[in-house]
Amino acid sequence: MTETTNPAHAKIDETVKANTVVLFMKGTKEMPQCGFSSRVAGVLNYMGVDFSDVNVLADDGLRQGIKDYSDWPTIPQLYVKGEFVGGCDIITEMTLSGELDTLFDDNGVGYDKDAANKIREANG
């Protein structure tokens, strides 16, 4: 995390701390506007995870601010319990390896284990 006075950071910090699972994405979880955001939102939806979505396209300050906040140049970005987990490639890998299940287990995040297994079976 970078220490700056960027006003967007305080808001981001508040958001990631107030919501157990947050996805910063292009578009919304109901209507993603980018294939990479769509993939991560799709995995979380399919696994039945209760998550908050933040549409970075709705706010230019946020769109750049989230990249500086996490020192990560791309969107989507997933946060669990205030910690940055990764972008589309990392979430995909963690879903297929089962690491995402473990992360959710460790943080008390509810999800449908059968659905997660189905994703792995379909992509094994």
């Binding site: 292009k26 506007q33 980018c34 294939g35 990479f36 020192d71 990560w72 140049p73 791309t74 940055f84 987990v85 990764g86 972008g87 589309c88 490639d89 990392i90 890998e93 963690m94």
Partner: protein, 84 residues
Amino acid sequence: MSMTDKIRDRLETAFSPTELEVVDDSESHRGHAGYQEGGESHFNVRIRAAEFAGRSRVARHRAVHAALGDIVPRIHALALDIDS
């Protein structure tokens, strides 16, 4: 020099990879956000290098982002498959 070659050059220099594949995948995103005529907007990189061993996924990605430097904000999408 094409963007594909620039990406390959920087990764070769930074990591001396044992395997490196850089694919300009822009055409498959034709009509999607970020697509530009002539390609050079969406890239897939597969890299294997010893120095990624024992590093977290996020740390591996950050190392690649750092090596690519000013290229990252100039392209629309970069899919990374990184391992040791």
